[in-house]
């Protein structure tokens, strides 16, 4: 019986993003997370005495320039060599962009499949096991050809595996590299397709298995849930049994809170506490990066939004009060609305109605929004490039973004005005 591990998208030394440090945040847990995940992978291979390991591309981030990262990878491959476990690699789009890939001196138990054309792994041990592993590395950071077409014919009598770094027929948030269809793959009549590139774990086809194992370690809030590899057992009839094994050391989760019924902010905090306990238990106590999303038309909308920093800190305090203090509040998204509709100032009058009306007018007038943007120009000039340009940047010139800010300013102002009464 054949046993192997299929992993992909290790993105070694890729940093965890979006975590703002605060007193008591589990800083040590995120340090070297991707390295620890790779260590977990190696440990798993040794512990389960697998016959070989497949890594379907993207060992590192394309723009990462530290050769130490490659050396670390090599040192871990040496551990597998000492245990006599072969490793077959293909390079993905990120690896192709990185000079390190071809400069590394891999130990003799590791074989990188060619990038000029599709090839078959040549290590003697694989032939002994009766396994033929076919694949092709990315030659360039962006491969838009259907690479699968060039794969060799299956080797009869062997267990045939195809390795490919692809987005198949397209995946959200992933570049459409090496596009191909499931049928393209099925036609090759291989026994297993070990894919990489898409970070979301999915089995696209059962017979033969066409598998994305997802990445090894989530790096930001868009990579939620457990991350790891597939442990595959093959019986004499070449029938595969797949077991997902989580290897990550830090996990991302979204915690959704509905504030509709909350009469006091404290009950929301309690709700979060309960939810956090549930999440911690669900993830076996792994340290968590939690995004809190608060929704609902609620009576405490203004209380929450007029001092969002305070409530953020309250949420943080809940994590600190946890026994192991292992959750990190990534961000709190306030999506609450007031009980009253926006622009409806029926229960407001006088100045507050004028204020509300003024905000509504600003929101609907792009030229005035731009005037507001002018006030923020000095800040914009000082901010680092990542925060001003790019997908996830703060778009100071975007009327929608400015409207969102005004949406946040309204409860802030109204809240303070109303606080003023008793104070």
């Amino acid at each position: 019986m054949l046993r192997f591990i299929h992993a992909a998208d290790i993105h070694l030394d890729s940093p965890l993003k979006g975590l703002e440090k605060y007193e008591g945040a589990p800083v040590d847990e995120i340090r070297g997370a991707t390295r620890k995940a790779l260590d977990n992978l190696v440990d798993l291979a040794i512990e389960r005495q697998v016959d070989f390991v497949l890594i379907a591309g993207d060992l590192y981030d394309g723009n990462w320039k530290d050769h130490n990262t490659g050396l670390f990878f090599v040192s871990r491959m040496h551990r597998l060599r000492d245990e006599g476990i072969p490793v077959v690699l293909i390079s993905g789009n990120h690896d192709a962009a990185n000079r390190m890939t071809r400069s590394l001196r891999l130990p003799d138990n590791v074989e990188l499949l060619p990038h000029t054309e599709a090839g078959t792994a040549s290590m003697a041990r694989l032939a002994e096991l009766g396994v033929a592993i076919h694949g092709r590395s990315f030659a360039n950071p962006a491969e838009f050809d259907n690479l699968a077409q060039g794969y060799v014919r299956k080797k009869s009598g062997f267990f045939n595996i195809g390795m490919l770094h692809t987005s198949l027929d397209g995946a959200d948030g992933h570049e459409p590299y090496a596009p191909c269809s499931l049928d393209d793959l099925r036609q090759k009549e291989y026994d297993y397709w070990a894919l990489g590139h898409v970070h979301v774990r999915q089995i696209r086809c059962d017979e033969p298995p066409v598998v994305f194992p997802g990445n090894l370690q989530g790096r930001h809030i868009r990579e939620t849930g457990a991350k790891g590899c597939y442990f595959v057992s093959v019986d004499a009839q070449h029938h595969c049994t797949l077991e997902f094994v989580p290897l990550d050391v830090f996990r991302w989760e979204i915690c959704r809170l509905d504030a509709t019924e909350a009469r006091r902010p404290e009950s929301l905090i309690d709700q979060f506490s309960t939810e956090l306990t549930r999440l911690t238990k669900m993830h076996d106590g792994l340290p968590l990066g939690v995004r809190v999303e608060v929704t609902g038309a609620t009576a405490i909308h203004e209380i929450l939004r007029s001092d969002s920093i305070r409530w953020l800190n309250e949420f943080r305090n809940v994590t600190l009060a946890q026994q192991n203090q292992r959750a990190w509040i990534e961000k709190v998204r306030w999506n609450t609305t007031s009980r009253r509709e926006r622009g409806d100032s029926s229960d407001l009058s006088g100045p507050l109605a004028v204020l509300s009306g003024h905000l509504e007018e600003l929101r609907s007038d792009p030229s005035r929004l731009m005037e507001l943007a002018g006030v923020l120009e000095t800040l914009k000039r000082k901010l680092p490039d990542e925060l001003v340009n790019g997908d996830d940047a703060l778009k100071f010139d975007d009327p929608e973004q400015l409207c969102r800010w005004l949406d946040e300013v309204e409860p802030l102002l109204l809240g303070h005005m109303r606080e003023g009464v008793d104070g």
Binding site: D347, G350, H416
Partner: protein, 1174 residues
């Protein structure tokens, strides 16, 4: 909504109490003394509306579950709601039976969705809010926008909120600051990024190091092999080089060995033994002969000498005599010197005796010796002498000096004038100084007066429209500024209206032209058929048909005028039939055209209608304009009449305002000029009075009076100088008088001192005479003389002592000489009687002879003893030599036998052959052993054969070559190993470290916080900005009507102390609120009292409430004791305002001041007041 009833069923201190607010109109005053539960009832009202909070302190009488508050409300449409509020988690509102659950929404509906906070904010006002509002007005400098906004929202501190946002934003980020949170995070980010760059290892660097290392390691391996090979080669050559000289020596040795092969090998010590025996034998023979000769000589000597024994027995006595002779000789030499010394001393003593005043002999001299007491007494008295004489002299001198000083002081006093009183002059000067610098004041005033006079003239000349004098101008009845403002406003309004009328007329005439043009254009394209035409032609056609019918029925002739007229009209020259058809056709044609050209028709109709309309309006506008012109003229007339009293033909109000301000300035100048003139007059009078006073004083002091023309300040100065001089003279006189007094008091003491000194000197003289009489001196003798006599006596006595001592020594010497001579004589008689004769001549010679004889005898005795000893030893030596000769002869014979020699002479040759054989054999053995070592395992003969192939020079050259190449290789190896070390070191640094990656994580964390803070900054910055804009907007929208209403209320509240409020611009162009006094004068808020600001706030608050109620159902206003700081009159005014407000909306005033209730009952009509007492 109105509150009709508040039932305090079980709440706070209340049980079953009910507050009735009548029908909900008018002012309700809820009065409760302190502790009566005013606050509780206020809270009860709020809890009734919005529920009892989870934590409440109103359970001190009734427990939580028993708390009940009831109420009766009436909505705007007259429906009533009665309910009871209890404390619970759910269903807290019940019906009047306290059983049935009442739907909360009914109450909410009454409240129109206003939540508790908003309610408290908008429809509740208490003293604290009033104070905060008043304060905020002062602090904000009267910023109208802020004040309105705050009063409108009922929250008082809007400025503070805006500032808070700005402060929070500033704490996060400032464009030029680096201490703000964002700035710090940004610089930290830069630092971390630098760390990333520094700790990253580029792949190229790693590849380079790796390649170089491998190259170096390969090369190193090759060098190691080469080195090994060369070292072996060099070692072999070295051995061969060492073997070659050994072989060169080996061959001759082997040939030499053949000669001595037969020689007998003797022991190593053989030659030494043989030489020793031969030498010893010959020396023994020589010793024997020498001893014989010596014995013979000694025996001869002994026979020639004899020794005197008696002399030797007295050896000690002779030695002593020899020693004593020295002492004897020395004493003989000293004696004459001593005698001379003694005589000299005696002579000197005699001389001293003669020196004494009383001639004395040497024998009497001893009696002159002074006792110690006498000597000390004389010395003491001598010591006192000088001090006593000096003392006496100095006391006399002091007395004389004192008398001289007294005389001088008296003299000075005589020369000074009598003392004079200055107090009056000082007082007057002080007064002058107190007035200050009168001169300058005078000249300043003079200058300003002149300036004002000139200025008035200039300004007056510049003032148009007026020709009178300045004084008349002051009383000129010109209209007030307000009147001018008023006229400017109404005139400009009138102008504006006139202009509007003209504009309208222009507009209408232009519109008319346009319409006319359109109509003309329409008509130009062809006649437009009209409905009227169609109507006409149809009527004609119908008439034609009637004609046809009539003609056909023969009721009418075809020649009838009607028929011919019809035919003529439609078909001239034709018949009726044709004419009718033509009429039919032309009617159809017009109908068709009307249909076909309906648009044009309609257009024409519209244009025509519009034209009429425009004409109408134009006419109206004309009328309006005429009216406006009339009004304008009337106003102009009124304007002119305002100025008639001043007999001035006014220009426009704007110009007249500036004229008026110019005139006011002149009035102002005139008034200042008058003031200045009066001031001048006053100053002159003052200065003259002062001058008179000063002259009086000077006269009293006998000083010349001051000149009239002199400046006052200079006069004061010279007076001061005079006063100063007089003061100095007075002081000097006083000082001298004191001095004389002091000196006179000292004189008796000085006199006494002089007397004492004289007495003590006399006493001393008596004692002195007594003391020096011993020395033979009288009282006149000075201490020096007395001392000289004492010294002479001492020296005389010393000389006498010396001569006595010398006499004793001379006697001793003579006695010793006699004793010595006797002892010498005795000794000579015993040992050398032959010398007895010579003794009489000289003792010295006799002793010398004796000593000489003794030394010769000792010498001889010593020689004899030595010879006898020598003889004995020579005899022993001769015997020993004979024994040795026998022994050595035996030894030599044995050696000859050993060397196989016949005689002793053959022995050296045998020895030499033995030694040669031994040497050659040993050398050969050494060479072979060395060769064997060098062969290093090879058989010796083989090695020798191999070595013989080489010659020495070649071997040396080969070795040198090998050494050179070995050195080069070693050097290269060294270099390589250093380079390998470095590379390995570099590569080991690249050990897969996660440092750069960790720094990257840090950078991401920083980016996240920068992002968060940036958004926070944006929110805070925008909040501040938007709030400021909203404040401005609220001001714009509510300023007019609200301000005029607030102005009225404010006037009422301040009892007419202010006539109202107005918006104004401050220096920065900001719109601010100012109070207006009844005279039109404006007052900034900074100049108002706190109470006045509170009243502004209250006025605005109520005005805003009134305006916000327009078109909405009223809500009860809850007022909590806001009048506590108002005096009675203002309280009455405020109550009136509230009462007036309560006509439109219910007002409930809570208070615990009884006097307020009294004022209310006195001030307000009974019908609009409900007083409720707790």
């Amino acid at each position: 909504m109105k509150i009709l009833q508040l039932n305090l069923l079980a709440f706070g201190p209340f049980t079953g109490q009910s507050l009735h607010f009548g029908n909900g109109t008018g002012l309700s005053i809820v009065h409760g003394a302190n502790e009566a539960g005013k606050s509780s009832s206020l809270r009860a009202l709020r809890n009734l509306l919005y529920g009892i909070p989870q934590q409440t302190s109103d359970d001190f009488v009734h427990s939580y579950q028993n708390l009940r508050i009831g109420g009766v409300f009436e909505s705007a449409d007259g429906t009533r709601l009665e309910c009871i509020r209890r404390k619970a988690r759910t269903n807290t509102l019940r019906g009047p039976d306290d059983v049935e659950v009442c739907d909360e929404s009914q109450l909410l509906q009454l409240l129109e969705g206003i939540d508790e906070k908003t309610y408290a904010q908008r429809f509740g006002i208490d003293y604290q809010e009033l104070r905060r509002g008043g304060n905020a007005i002062i602090q904000g400098g009267g910023d109208l926008g802020e004040i309105l906004f705050a009063a409108g929202a009922g929250m008082a501190n809007v400025k503070q909120i805006q500032q808070q946002f700005e402060t929070e934003a500033d704490a996060l980020f400032k464009p030029r600051g680096s201490n703000q949170k964002l700035g710090q995070a940004l610089s930290e980010l830069d630092r971390v990024r630098k760390e990333i760059r520094e700790s990253q290892v580029p792949t190229s660097q790693w590849v380079e190091h790796d390649r170089e290392l491998r190259k170096a390691e390969d090369r190193q391996q090759k060098i190691d092999q080469e080195l090994r090979r060369k070292r072996i080669e060099r070692n072999r050559l070295d051995r061969i080089g060492q073997s070659l000289p050994l072989l060169g020596r080996r061959h001759p040795l082997r040939e030499a060995l053949v000669d001595v092969a037969t020689a007998r090998l003797l022991p190593e010590s053989f030659e030494a033994d043989r030489r020793e025996a031969a030498t010893a034998l010959s020396s023994a023979i020589r010793a024997e002969a020498k001893a014989g000769q010596e014995i013979e000589r000694l025996e001869g000597e002994l026979r020639s000498v004899s020794v005197p024994v008696d002399l030797l027995k007295h050896r000690t006595a002779i030695s002593k005599a020899h020693t004593d002779l020295g002492s004897y000789q020395k004493a003989s030499r000293d004696r004459p010197g001593l005698i001379a010394d003694r005589d000299a001393a005696l002579r000197s003593a005699e001389a001293h005796c003669r020196e004494l005043s009383q001639p004395t002999t040497l024998d009497q001299a001893a009696s002159l010796r002074l006792s110690k007491g006498q000597r000390r007494k004389i010395q003491e008295l001598a010591g006192d002498c000088k001090a006593l004489i000096d003392k006496q002299a100095s006391s006399e001198q002091q007395l004389r000096q004192l008398d001289k000083l007294i005389h001088q002081a008296d003299d000075t006093i005589r020369r000074l004038p009598q003392r004079r009183d200055l107090s009056e002059l000082d007082r007057t000067i002080r007064q002058g100084q107190k007035y200050g610098d009168l001169d300058r004041q005078l000249s300043d005033d003079q200058a300003e007066f002149e300036y004002l006079k000139d200025q008035a003239q200039i300004e007056l000349a510049r003032l148009p429209l007026y020709t009178g004098t300045l004084e008349e101008l002051e009383t000129l009845p010109v209209p007030s500024a307000e009147t001018i403002d008023q006229f400017e406003r109404v005139l400009s309004d009138a102008d504006e209206e006139l202009r509007r009328c003209r504009d309208k007329m222009d507009g209408f005439s232009e519109a008319r032209q346009n319409l006319q043009a359109s109509l003309d254009a329409l008509r130009l394209t062809g006649e437009v058929p009209t409905e009227a035409e169609l109507e006409t032609i149809r009527r004609r056609r119908n008439a034609g048909w009637d004609l046809v019918l009539q003609v056909w029925q023969e009721n009418l002739s075809s020649t009838d005028a009607a028929v011919t007229g019809f035919v003529e009209e439609f078909d001239s020259g034709g018949d009726l039939k044709a004419a009718f058809r033509a009429s039919l056709e032309s009617a159809d044609m017009i109908a068709d055209r009307l249909r076909r050209e309906a648009d044009r028709v309609a257009q024409e109709a519209k244009l025509t209608a519009d034209l009429q309309q425009v004409d109408l309006r134009f006419q109206t506008a004309c009328d309006s304009r005429k009216e406006a012109e009339k009004r304008r003229e009337k106003l102009e007339g009124e304007w002119q009449s305002q100025w008639s009293a001043a007999r001035i033909a006014p220009l426009t109000p704007r110009e007249m305002r500036s004229w008026r301000s110019q005139q006011q300035r002149l009035v102002d100048i005139a008034s200042r000029k008058r003031t200045r003139e009066a001031e001048l007059q006053r100053l002159v009078t003052q200065i003259e009075a002062l001058r008179g006073d000063l002259n009086q004083c000077l006269e009293a002091l006998l000083q010349p009076a001051v000149a009239d023309h002199e400046q006052l300040s200079r006069v004061l100065d010279s007076c001061q100088v005079i006063a100063e001089e007089i003061r100095k003279e007075n002081q000097l006189r006083e000082q001298m008088e004191q001095e004389g007094e002091k000196l006179r008091s000292q004189r008796p003491t000085a006199e006494q001192a002089a007397h004492d000194a004289r007495e003590r000197l006399d006493e001393w003289r008596t004692q002195w005479a007594d003391a020096v009489s011993v020395l033979g001196l009288d009282v006149q003798a000075t201490p020096v003389e007395a001392n000289a006599v004492i010294e002479t006596i001492d020296e005389l006595l010393q000389l006498l002592d010396e001569s006595a001592r010398l006499e004793v020594r001379i006697g001793g010497i003579d006695e010793d000489a006699d004793k010595f001579r006797l002892s010498v004589r005795t000794l000579i008689e015993q040992v050398a009687p032959d010398l007895g004769d010579r003794l009489t001549h000289s003792v010295d010679q006799s002793v010398a002879d004796l000593v000489d004889r003794l030394s010769r005898a000792v010498e001889d005795q010593t020689k004899v003893e030595s010879w006898q000893q020598q003889l004995q030893s020579q005899r022993a030596e001769r015997e020993a030599a004979a024994d040795a000769i026998t022994q050595w002869r035996d030894t030599l014979e044995t050696l000859c036998r050993q060397a196989d020699c016949q005689s002793q002479d053959d022995l050296p040759q045998a020895e030499e052959r033995s030694a040669r054989r031994r040497r050659i054999e040993s050398e050969l053995q050494g060479i072979d052993e060395r060769l064997y070592q060098l062969a290093s395992g090879t058989a010796l003969e083989e090695w020798i054969a191999a070595v013989e192939q080489f010659d020495s020079d070649r071997v040396q050259m080969d070795i040198a070559g090998l050494d050179e190449s070995l050195r080069l290789l070693e050097e290269e190896k060294q270099r390589l190993s250093e380079s390998i070390g470095e590379r390995r070191n570099e590569l080991s640094r690249m050990n897969g470290s996660g440092q750069a990656a960790e720094a990257q994580v840090q950078a991401e964390c920083l980016l996240a916080s920068i992002r968060g803070d940036a958004e926070e900054y944006v929110r805070k910055r925008l909040a501040a900005l938007v709030l400021a804009q909203a404040i401005e907007r609220f001001r714009e929208s509510s300023q007019g009507p609200v301000l005029s209403r607030a102005s009225e209320l404010f006037s009422t509240l301040t009892l007419g102390s202010f006539s109202g409020l107005r918006a104004d611009s401050d220096d920065t162009g900001k719109t601010v609120l100012v109070g207006v006094r009844p005279g039109g004068q404006t007052v900034q808020v900074a100049g108002m009292s706190e109470g006045t600001c509170d009243q502004i706030y209250l006025a605005l608050r109520i005005a805003l409430l009134e305006s916000s109620l327009h078109g909405r159902a009223p809500f009860p206003l809850i007022v909590d004791d806001i009048l506590i700081m108002f005096d009675n009159e203002r309280t009455a005014a405020a109550l009136k305002v509230l009462s007036h407000f309560s006509q439109t909306t219910q007002v409930i005033l809570f208070t615990h001041h009884e006097h307020l209730v009294d004022i209310a009952t006195d001030t307000l009509p009974e019908s609009s007041l409900h007083v409720i007492r707790l």
